[in-house]
Symmetry: C2
């Protein structure tokens, strides 16, 4: 039986244009070949400090508690909820997609009285509806919002929501998993209390780490809460003693992953954060123009569209999964199917991090023209490519 | 400010002989340079299946629920406790070191009535004392034991404990973080209900993944428990739908880390599991012989000594931290200080995975001879090296 395992992994060729992970630059992959050193090695402490400092730059924050958690973004959701909320605390979770639903699920598991504010999948969170909820419920400790709903391709504008939430003396939690590095995000200027992201989207690292940052109000809550956090692994107060100069052992950091994150953040610094966001915006505009030229609809409304992820509506008579299968098998392009109520109705096309490249837009559009045409959908060959090209030129003007 | 981050990470030279992480073979590091693919890619499903199958070989089990969790070993502790135990369940945690203490802490956080059975640090769990506890408390749902206490270098023999626990109709949880791959470990034959390990010890991967395996009784508990698991991230029932042919999305797997684990397991299969364990046993015998020849004591009793970790007692008049500092700075050797009540009294010398090599034993012993001699401790130069050499020869006879 062991014989069958004696072959080296032969990775398939892939262009990652799904909901994440995104493609990872060879420099970042190469960083993981550096020999592993100890999690209490002075040289690793320096890596931690450098990663923390670069994450502060990316989050636009001076928060001390800014570091990668040893988990994916879902773990960070859990850390954020479990460290802020205590048994019986009231929390409002704005749910306009799958990840809002997950956030509500986690808040509820943590023992919080979880009030769900629904908005239709494909729409942003509604400010007035949130105001009504905040008026209806007293003593809401926190409001949770997903900045970029990866399930629907919707970006919810944050500044008015944050102001509203704070005017009710509540904390604001923002899920920035897919927005950080792909859209403008300002932790301190917008006065956000808790935010987290994930390494494998616009930050350009492999999946496995989840940067989190904790503002002063939230830090105060974490440090003074009477009850114990139910998770040891995600206990931020204890983790801080490892991140701080105390350097007390908490758990063994994923060393190689931290090397990768350091390198991907270094590449972001070299590119410039604004340029990175601009690149996401530019390629997204080309993708949208191309998709529209094929005659396909985009689920999210123009004003609230994500750069890193475009939700393309599957036209009548086309088999969603079959197109995805052809993209993967014949063109080596991975796009994502939809989650929850959108399953089978939408392709989720990602342009994140290293995947956010013009060449990927053209690869996808040309493949889609072919596949849809073969499926009997009328296509004017080249039209989507021309539209994308024009969008790129217009973007620079 | 960004200027300061524009340098590539310059890793220091290190021989990792601490409590983990251990050194990682270049083949394993190289595996992480394979391009990232999607967590729902058919080719990644195959990687998952291969990793699961090799983990079953290493655990000696046929348990379907055998897979790496996306966390370190501490996360697996949490997963094991939180999935088995419900609010108010009774659990006995055998605490003969720092990690037993951590296990008790986590069980308690999860809401279980946690009965702690203490044994002195440096001794194994006491079978008679456990029997008394089991007689004293009715309806104990689970007993938790740390197989290899990395804090004290003690291996607790498991078979009689397991038989005792099952005769009281309790489940047995075994922490195999430091034993798996370094000592004989038989999930099915010994009839263990839950066990977990970590990637960075004797398995030879970087830190960041925690293999777990769930036996039939525990699986039944997990699948039929009336209350919800408080953790979403570590919810094993939901994770199983991703590991199984259902392949339902749960969270984004750490792809690159999984490549690394696949390669390190492949290397274990090539070496042969028995040979791997034998190698740990052989180098440990050489280290112990050498340490004794220097005149240093080993904390753990001969009968219960760990192979992967040797706790060397700091002699009177020697500064524990200063010796460690010299080892790191002058000899590039990392050993670990002790935790909790043993702090300052013991050096923890690891020989795990790729670090479990004869050359490392000689590097460490020669460095110790020099450092201790310079510190005024009387050393017969070469004596420890000769003793280690003899031990290696005797081992093969």
């Amino acid at each position: 039986m062991t014989q069958t395992y004696l072959e080296e992994f032969k990775n398939p060729e892939r262009i990652l244009m799904g909901a994440g992970p995104s493609s990872v630059h060879p420099r970042v992959l190469q960083a993981m070949t550096k020999p592993v050193i100890g999690h209490l090695d002075p040289d690793f402490f320096q890596v931690m400090d450098e990663v923390g400092q670069m994450l502060r730059t990316v989050f636009h924050t001076t928060n001390f508690m800014t570091a990668p958690l040893s988990s994916t973004g879902t773990g960070a959701m859990e850390a954020a909820c479990f460290n802020i909320l205590e048994d019986g605390d009231k929390v409002i979770i704005c749910r306009n997609g799958y990840f809002g639903d997950r956030l509500a699920d986690i808040a509820r598991r943590g023992g919080a009285e979880t009030i769900i504010l629904d908005a239709p999948w494909g729409k942003p969170v509604d400010l007035n509806a949130l105001e009504n909820e905040l008026k209806k419920h007293q003593d809401v400790k926190m409001v949770g919002v997903v900045h970029a709903e990866t399930s629907t391709g919707v970006l919810t504008p944050l500044t008015e929501i944050i102001e509203l939430v704070h005017s009710h003396n509540s904390l604001i939690l923002v899920d920035a998993v897919t927005s950080l590095g792909g859209h403008d995000f300002r932790m301190d200027e917008w006065d956000i209390d808790v935010a987290y992201s994930a390494s494998q989207k616009c930050l350009g690292s492999p999946p496995g780490l989840a940067p989190i940052t904790i503002g002063p109000r939230a830090e105060e809550v974490i440090k003074t809460r009477p009850s114990e956090v139910q998770s040891f692994y995600f206990n931020l107060k204890d983790l801080e003693t490892y991140w701080s100069q105390t350097r007390a052992y908490h758990h063994t950091s994923p060393i190689s992953m931290t090397y990768a994150l350091r390198e991907s953040l270094r590449m972001m610094m070299e590119e410039g954060l604004e340029n990175r966001i601009n690149r996401h915006s530019k390629v997204a505009s080309a993708l949208r123009a191309g998709v529209s030229a094929i005659g396909l609809d985009i689920l999210s409304e123009e004003e609230y569209r994500l750069n890193p992820l475009t939700p393309v509506v599957v036209p009548d008579g086309i088999d969603e999964a079959d197109v995805r299968r052809q993209l993967l098998q014949d063109y080596k392009i991975e796009v994502s199917g939809a989650l929850g109520e959108l399953r089978g109705k939408v392709w989720r096309v990602g342009l994140m991090g290293e995947s956010a490249r013009e060449t990927n837009v053209f690869a996808f559009l040309s493949a889609m023209e072919s596949i849809l045409s073969k499926s009997g959908y009328e296509v004017a060959f080249g039209a989507s490519l021309a539209a994308a090209q024009r969008a790129l030129i217009t973007f620079d003007e």
